[in-house]
């Protein structure tokens, strides 16, 4: 006797219609009423074909749902999710080498601010930035070696992101590196582009001029209006930085028009007024887009966001996200970049084996040329995967990929949001639990809530303005999603 059961999925409603997000394929289907009712019934508990005979046209509906694996026969083996470790000795035909695309260059680990929540300098730091063996500034030689390393490891396109500390404290090396990378990239026939992250305190007219002329993408770390910014983003003497940075940012936005300039906001328990921050940074200051991230910190710190804080954050994210929908329906720009990024992943149907590209397509380089998983681990011996001189330590890299594959995160195996989240940030997990391999269980509810909001928005746009998704289509990455 054949009995049918629902397989992993998440149902949601958008624009009055039922939709389903399938796990782990990450496919999104709109359902008609018959399919919706049947899927609901089977989600309640498995039924035999006979128990379902009251449904009209039942065999056709069953066949459609079974075809996309939204349901399956009881006892039938579940669909296979092969554990393919990228870069591992070719075990599967589909495994292929993944080129390095992004290198984050920590040109200095020094900073002229003393933001109290900083993961690099605050109580949660993992590298001794003050007295450690890492030089305070990257030398020109190391930067050149890093560029050579990147161009060796990269495919046709390479990105360099300058990072710190405060990146602009080492502006002279940054200038030389841009010139050297351009020259070397041209010689080897690859293209290279640049971006940097800064706290904006050191943006002088000549620096702004250089950034604009060289089409360097800029992300500014800023928390919002004066009262918010000055709470955590302070100088060593405790004075706030808002009055210094605001005019400099305005000047940068006025002069630098070749690349969109984004603000990157750190949210803390004392700083959760997302909409107010967004309004200020876009309307008053003029940022093109604003991205928000909850602070990475141990649970015991005063500024750590706790359960209730995540709920408040989600409510405000939801409100801003619906503003985004209204703008998108009219094909207007809206700068809430968290939505934009998630929508793109939903549209492509990304189903991740790893939460991010760290250790794979993205690597961080410490001031002495040690290569780490990402910029947040730069300089940490425990998370080192090579040096720019000797190249990537493939053994360490594959061991990392082996350990951190989603199939090892048992907590995630029953979560419908895992195609997008895949356990979350390694550094966050390291800070919370002392282990990069742990799933970030402290924000699961938040991630599922936020993913649900984004799915609703995606569904709504698919009904009201499907042409909007054309912006996420580009030929060269079509092959990367499988």
């Amino acid at each position: 006797m054949i009995a049918w059961a629902a397989r992993e999925h998440h149902r949601f409603k958008a624009a009055g219609k039922p939709f389903v997000y399938l796990v782990p394929s990450a496919a999104i289907f709109e359902l008609d009423d018959a399919a919706d009712a049947l899927l609901r019934t089977l989600s309640d508990r498995p039924r035999t074909r006979e128990e379902l005979s009251a449904f009209d046209n039942i065999d056709e509906t069953l066949a459609d749902l079974a075809r996309v694996q939204a349901i399956g026969e009881i006892g039938a083996p579940p669909p296979v999710s092969p554990k393919v470790i990228p870069l591992a000795p070719v075990a599967f035909e589909t495994a292929r080498s993944v080129p390095l695309t992004t290198m984050v260059l920590n040109v200095t680990n020094q900073c002229n601010l003393s933001c109290t929540y900083c993961y690099e300098y605050g109580e949660d730091k993992i590298v001794d930035t003050a007295n450690g063996r890492q030089p305070k500034f990257m030398t020109e030689d190391t930067a050149r070696e890093s560029v050579d390393f990147l161009l060796r490891e990269a495919g046709d396109v390479a990105h360099i992101t300058f990072f710190g500390g405060e990146t602009l404290l080492n502006f002279p090396v940054l200038v030389k590196t841009v010139a050297y990378a351009r020259q070397r990239a041209a010689e080897v026939g690859k293209s290279v582009d640049f971006s940097l992250t800064t706290n904006a305190t050191l943006l002088k007219p000549e620096i702004i001029e250089f950034i604009a002329e060289n089409r360097i993408g800029v992300t500014i770390s800023i928390d919002g209006p004066k009262d918010v910014q000055d709470k955590f983003r302070v100088f060593t003497n405790g004075a706030g930085s808002y009055d210094l940075v605001a005019p400099k940012i305005r000047e940068l936005l006025r002069r630098h028009r070749t690349r969109p300039i984004g603000a990157r906001v750190t949210l803390t328990s004392a700083n959760l007024d997302v909409k107010k921050i967004y309004r200020h940074l876009t309307d008053d200051i003029g940022f093109w887009e604003v991205g928000f991230a909850p602070v990475t910190t141990a649970a015991t710190r005063g500024h750590a966001i706790s359960g209730d804080g995540y709920d408040r954050m989600l409510d405000q994210f939801r409100e801003l996200a619906y503003e985004y929908v209204e703008a998108a329906v009219e094909n207007r720009h809206h700068g809430f970049s968290n939505v934009q990024e998630t929508l793109e992943e939903l549209h492509k149907g990304v189903s991740k084996a790893y939460p991010c590209g760290a250790g794979l397509g993205l690597l961080g380089v410490a001031t002495d040329g040690d290569v780490a998983l990402c910029h947040r681990f730069a300089g940490s011996d425990a998370h080192k995967v090579g040096t720019v001189r000797d190249g990537i330590d493939r053994g360490a890299q594959i061991a990392f990929l082996e350990k951190h594959h989603i199939s090892n995160k048992t907590d995630c195996s029953v979560c419908w949001a895992r195609p997008l989240c895949s356990g979350g940030c390694y550094h966050e997990a390291h800070t919370r639990y002392g282990d990069t391999g742990r799933a970030n269980l402290h924000y699961c509810e938040w991630i599922r809530g936020w993913t649900d909001v984004c799915l609703q928005i995606y569904g709504e746009l698919s009904v009201r303005n499907p042409a909007f998704f054309a912006r996420f289509e580009d030929e060269h990455d079509a092959s990367q999603v499988s």
């Binding site: 990450a26 496919a27 008609d32 075809r67 996309v68 006892g75 492509k348």
Partner: protein, 109 residues
């Protein structure tokens, strides 16, 4: 599909990839699942229209088609012994298939 409408890119690919397959064994393209002709003997009353993967490649091979269940549950009964025409006493010694299947002999036309 009539009850589902693909919305994102992955859904469109699934729809494409699972389009009804009438050529089964001639199926081409990568990635191809390994072909295990599991037949239908793993369970006692399978639906014979399609195999576990939704195709027909995993169904029984002709040589295997003299298994007990073929002549009752199978919808291709013509080629196997049936108890009306070819072998009225074929299962006489087989009270319970799970236990007594060894007592059934091969039948030659």
């Amino acid at each position: 599909m009539t009850h589902l409408k693909s919305v994102n890119r992955k859904a469109a690919r699934i729809e494409q990839a699972t389009a009804p397959d009438v050529v089964a064994l001639q199926r081409t393209g990568v990635p191809q699942m390994p072909h295990f002709p599991l037949g239908c003997s793993l369970i006692f009353s399978p639906g014979w229209e399609a195999d576990r993967t939704g195709g027909t490649a995993g169904l029984c091979q002709p040589v295997e088609r003299d298994l007990f269940d073929c002549h009752i549950g199978c919808y291709w009964p013509a080629q196997v012994p049936d108890q009306l025409n070819h072998a009225p006493d074929w299962t006489a010694k087989c009270a319970a298939a799970q236990k007594d299947w060894r007592k059934m002999d091969l039948i030659f036309p």
